[in-house]
């Protein structure tokens, strides 16, 4: 019933502290999950419902399982519009007689939360893997990357890049937010556009060469490749520009190898086994190819 409805606005919508303040107030005011309407900052549809934050507490905050907050932090990063309500439902159930609820992985609510968490974890993992820095021309050891994560994960992932690239200056730009590290401080700022990052890097040729040569055409398995490196990430990865050629030529490279089997070695064992163990004189034979 609308009359009983209370509202809560989470701003920014991925922020654990913002969600937590409203959730704690609602829990202490004994507002059941069905009576709560959660919204992002941008969403004004709940105009008129009294905010849960303003309700007088009827009880002290019940204790919460330690595993809940890290779970909540990751679930909040998901773009699912139901996530705020889902987390509150879990919190409510734990406070209302199911303190060990999170261990019941096959419960429908827990399962849903874990599924959202898993998606966010995967997004985090892929971002750690697929961010590609480009060096800023004319600057010394300064790098910028453009990346489009599926979810609001920049705040969660930035500390990883700080620990790894502490000795560089870098920025990661995404459409909704950006992170900058100047060698001592991490700062977050507004979203950006792809054109705000450098468009090329001199080392990318070397990287593409490595990528083209480390793969074994005799073991072609593009299905596996796509599963682990979905096509939506390809635009961020300089090495994938060579993929069409690599895939097209794999078959003929393997056939070439198979045909060469038949040929006798052009340099039949020049060095006998006893001589091969000698320490000198062998390298010069093969130096020029």
């Amino acid at each position: 019933m609308a009359a009983d409805l209370h509202s809560a606005t989470v701003d920014p919508p991925w922020d654990l502290d913002a969600w937590r303040q409203s959730a704690r107030a609602a829990l202490r005011a004994c507002i059941a999950p069905a009576q709560m309407a959660w919204s992002d900052a941008s969403d004004a549809s709940l105009f008129g419902a009294p905010p849960a934050l303003a309700q007088a507490p009827l009880r002290a905050s019940p204790p919460v399982a330690r595993a809940f907050l890290p779970l909540a932090a990751r679930v909040l990063a998901h773009r699912d519009p139901q996530r705020h309500a889902l987390l509150y439902r879990l919190l409510w159930r734990m406070a209302e007689g199911e303190p060990r609820l999170l261990a019941h992985g096959l419960d429908a609510d827990v399962f849903r939360a874990r599924a959202l968490e898993k998606t966010v974890r995967r997004d985090l993992h892929k971002m750690k893997a697929f961010v590609r820095f480009r060096e800023v021309l004319g600057a010394h050891e300064e790098f910028v990357a453009w990346f489009e994560p599926d979810h609001h994960i920049l705040d969660l992932v930035a500390p990883f890049f700080v620990r790894r690239f502490a000795g560089m200056r870098w920025a990661i730009l995404t459409p909704y937010r950006s992170a900058r590290w100047d060698g001592s401080t991490l700062a977050f700022g507004a979203g950006a556009r792809p054109g705000d990052a450098p468009q090329a890097d001199a080392r990318e040729d070397l990287w593409r060469t490595y990528y083209a040569n480390i793969f074994n055409p005799a073991r072609l398995n593009p299905r596996m490749m796509r599963q682990e490196m979905p096509q939506k990430y390809w635009k961020h990865l300089p090495e994938t520009h060579t993929l069409p050629t690599l895939l097209r030529e794999a078959g003929s490279r393997v056939r070439d190898m198979a045909q060469r089997d038949a040929e006798p070695s052009r340099k039949p064992v020049l060095v006998s086994r006893t001589r091969a163990r000698c320490e000198n004189g062998v390298r010069s034979t093969y130096r020029k190819t």
């Binding site: 261990a103 993992h125 893997a129 620990r163 502490a166 560089m168 593009p222 056939r255 190819t289």
Partner: protein, 419 residues
């Protein structure tokens, strides 16, 4: 030769090594260390995937593909006609740092052909690792392929700088090694693995003791341990022989991983090799068997029972080794997911270690039903004939294992492209 050409040759030469792991190094980072880059921590990261479906985690290259040895399965053997190249040590250092700073890689996996002598080659490889660590404060992952003949001092230096060391056992049997890698010695390889194990264990003990007495921490030695690789299908060894050798390696040298590499057609192949590559499915089944041995409480005899007539023991290529075991042992099933102990749950086809944990945790809260099982994201078709829950019992499904096998085995696929 241009750097770009060298990289092409020396990456191409390294691609037959299966290992790409960058895990197990422990937590380490560059924050507050006054310069340098690099971090490691638990899980490795795959920064890209090549069209063969393999993970690109490390810059995996050879220092040189010149080699004085003549191992017939190896593209770099002295009698092969491949293009040769050699990196200067500082070129490898530069490449590693440049790639790392752009977030292309987790670190370096350096291997090499043998030039002049084992010691000379090892010295060059150790110099790369030393320079990365000491001159550039690099804290990413380093894996060095160790040369069994190298002197103990060089092994010690390698372990000081590297996270992981590996020596390839190359072939499943000593006879195979004698026939295909005449310059290598099985005893020499085992001796060097034993030496690495001893140093890894000793360093770990020293550090533990130092923590107890709160004295200065002694240096680490290959904190991510040692691994090895076996080539499958180049000699006549059967899967039983491969798995027996794996168990000996895991038990005897505390290997972190044994990698199986299906012998792959190489350019300019030797006539001593079989004409055809073994099916990749064989390699896949061996990895599954390896997992069952290490994490599921299976023994080699469970997975690959010796044939009574002494014929070759090969894993079933059509069904995974756990399902194959279950079909040979219908008397063990159905397993009651609400009551069975962990060891029995681990034997259920389609149920992995994670899901076993989930079942154990969830059944404390509720009696499990089919509805719960659908949330496991496990292959139910494979699992249901072997399990019982509140509202499900397989009835007669296990009476005829052959019919069940026919239902669960994938339909025969077209033979591979050149088979």
């Amino acid at each position: 030769m241009e750097l770009l050409d060298k990289l092409a040759v020396l990456a191409d030469a390294a691609k037959y090594d299966a290992s790409c792991a960058s895990s197990g190094a422990g937590k380490r980072d560059s924050l507050g260390k006054g310069g340098g880059v690099g971090s490691t921590g638990g899980m490795g990261i795959c920064h890209s995937y090549t069209p063969d479906g393999r993970c690109v985690s490390l810059l995996k290259i050879l220092l040189t593909n010149f080699c004085i040895y003549d191992c017939v399965y190896c593209v770099n053997r002295v009698s092969s006609n491949v293009r040769r190249a050699r990196f200067a040590t500082d070129e490898v250092v530069r490449l590693t740092l440049d790639f790392y700073k752009r977030n292309y890689i987790e670190g370096l996996f350096l291997s090499s052909g043998i030039i002049r002598s084992g010691d000379y080659t090892m010295e060059q490889m150790v110099e790369v690792a030393r320079s990365l660590r000491e001159d550039h404060h690099f804290r990413g992952y380093i894996h060095l392929k160790t040369i069994p003949e190298a002197s103990p001092e060089l092994l010690a230096a390698a372990g000081r700088h590297a996270d992981r060391l590996s020596i390839n056992v190359e072939l499943p049997t000593d006879d195979g090694l004698r026939a295909l890698a005449p310059d290598k010695s099985a005893d020499g390889i085992r001796g060097a693995m034993g030496e690495l194990k001893w140093r890894i264990d000793a360093a770990r003990e020293d550090r533990k003791a130092a923590r107890r007495t709160r004295s200065a921490t002694p240096p680490t030695f290959a904190p991510a341990g040692q691994s090895t690789q076996m080539i499958v299908g180049a000699d006549g060894a059967d899967d039983r022989a491969v798995l027996d050798r794996s168990v000996a390696l895991y038990d005897g040298y505390r290997m972190r991983r044994v990698y199986y590499s299906a012998f792959s057609p190489i350019p300019d192949a030797s006539a001593a090799l079989p004409l055809k590559a073994p099916p990749l499915a064989r390699e896949h089944r061996l990895y599954q068997a390896d997992w069952l041995l290490r994490f599921y409480g299976f023994g080699v005899e469970d997975i690959a029972p010796r044939a009574v007539d002494g014929s070759a023991t090969m894993l079933d290529l059509e069904v995974d080794p756990k399902l194959a075991w279950a079909l040979r042992h219908p008397e063990f099933f159905p397993v009651d997911l609400n009551r069975a102990p962990r060891e029995a749950l681990l034997r259920v086809p389609g149920l992995g270690t994670r899901n076993v944990q989930r079942v154990l945790a969830s059944r404390r809260h509720a009696r499990l039903r089919l509805d719960h099982l659908t949330r496991l994201r496990a292959p139910l078709v494979k699992m249901l004939p072997f399990v019982q829950v509140l509202d499900h019992h397989p009835r007669g499904a296990l009476d005829s294992p052959d019919a069940l096998r026919a239902r669960l085995a994938p339909p025969a696929r077209q033979a591979d492209l050149f088979g």
